[in-house]
């Protein structure tokens, strides 16, 4: 198999052009998918027999929460690649993940609180799942604060990469907290390896919304990556071609 195209992507100019071209596709397709699944979630899907209409919150809470973990994992893997193979573009990808990841984590916590109040009677409880998700938010904030504390980008890359890699230990804790400890938070609804607990009419809009969130994040990542590449390639000659 010819991997030349893949290796070419690792060069900043190619990655910049690729992100610029990919971004509108990801953005507009995700918007259409979100509108469809949002319509389904609010007006078509039947109410849950236990949670009634409050269950509709799941259609934005679950994608935000699962993506907050996925984005952190991606950030840590990119940071590790950058640290081990000294690949600048990997550090740029990691840096570009931080802001969308933080927004998704805040969204997961806020929507979770709004779901928790009618179900548990409280906006917040110091439950294992909620606390570990809050720690994830602090990890994202710490990552950004650490990056901002260095003037030199390469030093910021190295220091923040170590924090991102160390912080990945929290990801399985968030994921399996409902299994390992007695939790007020409900258990896993979706699983790749076992049959879903949800009816097909309810699960399809949820899966579409999850894919839509992923693509929307992809669009934001493309923009963030473009900004990071431009920040790092200030004096590069290929930038003059953008003028034309």
């Amino acid at each position: 198999m010819n991997w030349v195209w893949f290796h070419k992507l690792a060069s900043p100019p190619s990655a910049y052009v690729f992100a610029t071209r990919l971004r509108p596709w990801l953005f507009w397709v995700s918007i259409v998918m979100m509108l469809w699944s949002g319509w389904q979630a609010l007006f078509v899907v039947p109410m849950d027999y236990q949670q009634k209409d409050a269950f509709r919150i799941a259609y934005v809470h679950v994608p935000a929460a699962s993506l907050s973990l996925m984005v952190y994992s991606m950030m840590a893997i990119a940071a590790a690649i950058g640290l081990i193979w000294r690949m600048k573009l990997a550090h740029a990808v990691a840096a570009a993940c931080a802001i969308p990841g933080t927004i998704l984590t805040v969204l997961a916590l806020v929507t979770g609180s709004l779901w928790g109040k009618p179900m548990w009677g409280a906006y917040w409880v110091w439950d294992a799942r909620l606390t570990s998700e809050l720690i994830l938010l602090f990890l994202y904030l710490g990552y950004m604060a650490l990056r901002a504390s260095f003037d030199d980008i390469s030093r910021a890359d190295r220091a923040s990469a170590i924090l991102a890699i160390v912080g990945i230990v929290n990801v399985p804790i968030v994921k399996f907290s409902v299994v390992w400890w007695n939790s007020l938070h409900q258990g896993q609804t979706l699983s790749i390896f076992s049959e879903s607990k949800m009816d097909a009419s309810m699960i399809t809009p949820l899966l579409v919304m999850m894919l839509a969130f992923l693509m929307f994040f992809g669009a934001a990542l493309c923009d963030g990556l473009r900004a990071e590449i431009l920040r790092r390639e200030r004096n590069a000659s290929w930038l003059s071609e953008l003028n034309q």
Partner: protein
């Protein structure tokens, strides 16, 4: 159908906050890319005009 009974406040607040969060995510990323692009182009033009032959 649209008010979701006693859960209406929680459901609609969730969706409203989500829309704002997604708009913020898209706008902040787009804004950062545009800002960097403008500054890169400005810097590039300035460095070209400093050259004796105007960068040609």
């Amino acid at each position: 159908m649209l008010n979701f009974g006693k859960y209406g406040f929680y459901v609609w607040s969730t969706y409203l906050i989500t829309v704002f969060a997604l708009i913020f995510m898209a706008v902040s990323a787009r804004g950062a890319a545009n800002r960097e692009l403008k500054s890169a182009l400005r810097r590039n033009q300035a460095s070209q005009s400093k050259q004796p032959n105007g960068g040609n």
